[in-house]
Amino acid sequence: MSDAPAPPAAPQPEPTSASPAASGMQAKVSISDIFLSFLMIGATSFGGGAVAYLRSTIVAKRKWLDDVSFVELFSISQSLPGLNSTNMAILCGDRLRGWLGAVVAALGIIVPGAIIMTLAGIVYGMHGDRVLVTAGLRGVAAGATGLILATFIQLASKTLRGWLDVVFIIAAVIAVNWFHVSVLYALLALAVLATLAYRPKRTAEGRKPA
């Protein structure tokens, strides 16, 4: 079922660390290896940024994918619904061992945190209304606010390339926070407008990507 392009008889030169786009095909990575690696990331990636943990495991340590493919998968994962970390797990797992690889990669990265948060929910139900717990959670929430803003600034400084980008950001904020437009409609409308704004340019010779 593997959809990863695996030319059966293509004689590969010995896979050196500098091997080109052929990464992920050196030797078939086993399903249990994929699961355990992603489980490890899912259990240890404290403090968010699971994608950075993914890169250091999949690209740097295991050499299952090269940096070029990793960045390419990341750009896909950002344009799709779903969290970046889970989308990346699915795309990497699929690249390595097809749909089964995708399933075990996603399970590995999600399950540890999901169990921890279920337990946190149970503990919260028992003690969440204690005065000191509430006070501590207020501090935690204040800190999380700073974390969200920092993530926004880091992403914005990498992605923003012109005033038009700023217009779309402000439009999203005004629509959702001011006019309380449902996120669904804001997303659909702005996605269409922004895609059209960055539509492929027609040149005399024909189309070429913007």
Partner: protein, 185 residues
Amino acid sequence: MSQIPALARVFLYLSLLTVGGGMAAYPEMETLTVDVHHWLTQAQLVHFYSVGQMAPGPNMNMVAAIGEKVAGIAGALVVVLAFYAPTGVFTLIIGRLWKRLTNWPWRTSIQRGLAPVALGLMLAGAFTFGKSSLRFAQTATSAVEIHWLAVVLAVAVLVLMLRTKLNPALMILGCGVIGVFAFHP
């Protein structure tokens, strides 16, 4: 009476909005879980989200805590499945298709256009979140108002995030310890 079907519906819908990250879905999550279904309060949602930032793995695993609160372990399981499985299948399918569309000019346009939109929705989520994380009533009788120490903590984390390599989970934990002393009535 079971809330399970509603949980599945709501979190399936929310998962479709998480373009570029979970925060994009936050305003809608607040509307649906707090205002429409009364599964938890605005403050509780903020608490769950914030605690979720300290857990390993995807930063939206806090949805499991909401499911648990509403319908126990089964609720958590249903929410996690609804939140991750359908978008996961979608990603798998589009991910394979996307590779074949390398030369389709609109592919670049879509990726280019979605980037600022996703950022805008993230910022909108941050504002919705900040409205309840930085404003609260210190005691049962006082008014809901901006709490300046909360703003200071948020700015401190923001600056430390941009200037240092400190682990965010530790910073947030530190804010919790400060909160225990500073925010109790």
